[in-house]
């Protein structure tokens, strides 16, 4: 398991930006992408979509396996949100499998769309 900062701590204006792409090392079979929520204001929402390439970024979301669910993603909103135990969520996280674990030509990237204001956060990618 390895983690890296893919979105440095900062304030990001509303709009769409691409995070990455990042190389997926051989042997990796999944990822999680976490955005810190500590400074994420109420009213600010995001739509995050993750793309997968198996040919070093030449094409995206076009793997041969029909079962691969890319692109995939989430939507989330800022403000204080509590988990089922009444504890503040520290992060919004998306996780999914990455096929072809023996390949060294895999890349992933995230498309982040921010609406409702600017977003202050840090993005961390962890491969599994």
């Amino acid at each position: 398991m390895a983690s890296s900062i893919v979105l440095p701590h900062g304030t990001y204006a509303a709009g769409t930006r691409v995070v990455g792409p990042a190389t997926v090392p051989s042997g990796v079979s999944g990822f999680s992408l976490a955005l810190d929520r500590g400074e994420w204001l109420a009213g600010v929402t995001i739509q995050m979509t993750v793309d997968l390439s198996i040919d070093s970024g030449a094409t995206w979301n076009n793997p041969p396996e029909s079962v691969v669910p890319y692109p995939l993603g989430l939507s989330a909103e800022g403000g204080a949100a509590l988990d089922k135990n009444g504890v503040l969520y520290p992060q919004t996280i998306l996780a999914a499998p990455i096929p072809n674990s023996g390949s060294s030509t895999r890349r992933i990237r995230a498309n982040l769309t921010i609406t409702g204001g600017s977003l202050t956060t840090t993005g961390t990618l962890t491969t599994i």
Binding site: P69, L72, A76, T92, L94, A96
Partner: protein, 247 residues
């Protein structure tokens, strides 16, 4: 006409996608080009007693709302099964599961051909079971031979969980533990029916918390009768599902 698998997402002991502190999760599913008598199934789970607010099959132009067929809640977790008969658009499109507020959620999807488009489900569907920590999910789904049982099981975790393991005769649609691995884990599977009860089981995290399981059974489309054999005959000859001709 037998029910046939078109695609499963992921078809293994992994989830199509898993989220924490999100208001929706989405993943893509590829429908075969020739999906005769088709159905799209989404099996999902979340960390909430409340149902998800909707599941959509987005073809990029028409955002088709799917229909919830079954749901079960236990403690602070819920499992659901949604369907869309005869999807109008084939190819790769987006499945989106939405909730009210921020939640942990996850799921998978599968598509099948050969499903009865008018009487789609066994009359007993959906059926549910619930249990407490220390027991494993088990649900007897009422079926008849030729049907396809589908289940969704969720466990409310109180400790760090591990991916659920399906019963021996089931096939994974998807399964796994949430990215918040102390929240929920879920398993989603299919099982071709062989009798009047198709029992679907999961091995989940011991002492992990209470669980809920919901199951349905899909009915096969009626066999197409080849009438070319009986022209000119009276009473007419018919070719049955086995291929034999009879009056």
């Amino acid at each position: 006409m037998a029910i046939a698998v078109d695609a499963r997402n992921t078809g293994g002991q992994t989830l199509a996608a898993s989220v924490t502190a999100a208001t929706s999760v989405n993943w893509n599913h590829t429908l075969g080009a020739a999906l005769n008598n088709g159905i799209l199934i989404v099996s999902c789970a979340q960390d909430a007693g409340a149902n998800s607010t909707g599941v959509n099959w987005d073809d990029g132009g028409t955002n088709a709302a799917m229909t919830r067929k079954g749901t079960v809640s236990q403690a602070t977790c819920r499992a659901e099964i949604w369907y869309l008969k005869a999807p109008a658009v084939t190819g790769t499109k987006t499945i989106r599961v939405s909730w009210s507020g921020s939640h942990e959620g996850e799921g998978g999807s599968a598509s099948y051909s050969g499903v009865d488009q008018s009487t789609t489900f066994n009359a007993a569907s959906p059926q549910t079971a619930t249990g407490s920590s220390g027991t494993n999910p088990s649900l007897g789904v009422t079926t008849t031979s030729g049907e396809l049982a589908i289940d969704s099981a969720v466990q409310d975790l109180t400790i760090t969980g591990s991916a659920p393991t399906k019963g021996a005769s089931q096939t994974y649609i998807a399964a796994g533990v949430n990215t918040n691995n102390t929240s929920i884990e879920s398993g989603h599977s299919e099982f071709p029916a062989v009798g009047t009860t198709t029992t679907m089981t999961w091995t989940m995290t011991a002492s992990g918390g209470a669980w809920g399981q919901v199951g349905i059974s899909l009915l096969p489309a009626a066999a197409t009768i080849d009438t070319s054999e009986w022209r000119g005959c009276y009473p007419p000859l018919r070719r049955g599902p086995s291929g034999n001709l009879s009056y």
